[in-house]
């Protein structure tokens, strides 16, 4: 009996091959979809735990640089809080500020795994749905933009890095909008497309996030290093990224508190049409 099964299986290796390949492509297509959270990714519990414990072992190697970075950021933020400014009228006055409502909440997370040398790069972090992280949230770091959340499990999340074939971020240079894409060539340089040639863009101009689509406004993206005339009416602008993906240790996941409201409104617009 066993021989017969072996014989059939050997004889039909081609069928096994086709079956497995079909299943693989099913997984690939299913995981390509933003909405469906697949199981085969680094945010699943087993892989997440593994990366987290490995990261615990190696994290101390970068402690010094990380401390310096955090201290720097602290200093910068201290310069922005209200107590850093003198109030000429009355310093003891309690300001009940209703004009400014918080619309972004930042969730700090530690990077437990990151790739930068691939064509499609991902980052795994040690926070997940339990900490309020949801799909498609923006991810930034003190230096600049990092990517978008693509998969979330209870305690881990995978992030599609800016260095990903499918990543596209709305960016602004000198007030002109364009979309930032990665071509897979250099992990420190992205292309900014869609900026019309009628505007004047120079090498050295700063590129910031536009504030559209889940990223807060004015997050640094990088600096223009080359301006190429494209084939159509738009430039192809080479942007040197300000985020150093190789040294990434901590990131902030951005929770846009009005996202549901905005989405509902857009859906209603869609229904009305």
């Amino acid at each position: 009996m066993r021989n017969i099964i072996n014989f059939l299986l050997n004889y039909n290796a081609f069928l096994v091959f086709i079956g497995l390949e079909v299943f693989c492509f099913y997984l690939i297509l299913q995981n390509n979809n933003y909405q469906k959270a697949g199981f085969i990714n680094s945010s699943n519990v087993l892989v997440g735990k593994f990366y987290a414990s490995y990261n615990d072992l190696t994290a101390y190697l970068h402690l010094k640089q990380e401390n310096e970075k955090l201290a720097e950021e602290n200093a910068r933020l201290r310069g922005q809080i209200r107590s850093a400014f003198t109030d000429p009228v009355d310093t003891a006055h309690i300001i009940n500020d209703r004009a400014h409502q918080q619309i972004y909440r930042y969730i700090p997370a530690r990077v437990i795994s990151i790739t930068t040398g691939e064509l499609n790069n991902y980052i795994t972090i040690n926070k997940g749905a339990a900490d309020g992280i949801r799909n498609r949230m923006a991810v930034i770091c003190p230096d600049g933009v990092v990517g978008k959340v693509t998969n979330v499990s209870e305690h881990f999340a995978s992030i599609m890095s800016l260095l990903h074939k499918n990543s596209s971020i709305s960016a602004r240079v000198n007030g002109n909008l364009g979309s930032l894409v990665w071509k897979g060539d250099d992990p420190s340089v992205c292309n900014l497309e869609g900026v019309s040639k009628q505007f004047n863009i120079r090498v050295g101009d700063r590129v910031y996030s536009s504030g559209k689509a889940s990223f807060p406004e004015d997050i640094s993206i990088g600096t223009v290093v080359r301006v190429n005339p494209g084939n159509d009416n738009n430039y192809v602008i080479r942007v040197k990224l300000s985020t150093n993906f190789n040294a990434l240790q901590y990131v902030y996941v951005v929770d846009y508190l009005r996202r549901d409201e905005e989405q509902n409104l857009e859906e209603q617009n869609g229904n009305a049409q």
């Binding site: 091959f17 497995l20 680094s42």
Partner: protein, 173 residues
């Protein structure tokens, strides 16, 4: 058979660790990170039934996919490698064909055989892996050159890794 299976699993675990903890994290200037998992397919015993070969390749690919967020692309290309292995081995068969004592390792089959098989396997794996990744975005020439360069690097690494498992000819693995 059981010790054989244990060896295979151990080798897989070791290659997986090298891949996800070291190779995936290095950034090679102008190229992508190299892959050494094709070595796992090459090193499976010659007499492995084809269906088992395919299933092992699939399992290895899925685990690797989970660790590197490649969604099933590694599994797809490794299964294709496993399916093609028989033809590649046939192409580079020794003068008298394969004998029961033959194992697909450098110390038994010789350097020339091993290098040829590795090159064929790695080229197949890398081409499939990157083609599946970019088939939606169109093929760029500079990516093709990068893929070829990465394939060369992986061949080199696999040949180096083979020495991890190197045993003198007289002793069995």
């Amino acid at each position: 058979m059981l010790s054989n299976l244990f060896t295979i699993l151990f080798r897989f675990a070791l290659l997986l660790l090298i891949q996800v903890l070291i190779l995936n994290r290095v950034e090679v200037p102008y190229l992508f990170s190299p892959f050494i998992m094709p070595l796992f397919i090459i090193r499976l015993p010659i007499e492995t039934p084809r269906w088992l070969l395919l299933l092992l390749a699939f399992g290895a690919g899925i685990v690797l996919d989970a660790f590197s967020d490649s969604m099933g692309i590694q599994a797809a290309s490794l299964v294709a490698c496993a399916f093609t292995r028989q033809y590649i081995f046939y192409l580079f068969r020794p003068g008298g064909g394969y004998e029961p004592s033959h194992r697909p390792v450098m110390s038994v089959m010789g350097t020339r055989w091993f290098v040829s098989v590795t090159i064929a396997m790695v080229l197949l794996h890398h081409l499939l892996f990157y083609l599946i990744q970019i088939f939606s975005a169109g093929l760029f020439l500079h990516l093709f050159i990068k893929i070829m360069g990465t394939a060369c690097l992986s061949v080199l690494l696999i040949l180096l890794s083979e020495f991890l498992f190197y045993r003198p000819r007289s002793r069995a693995t």
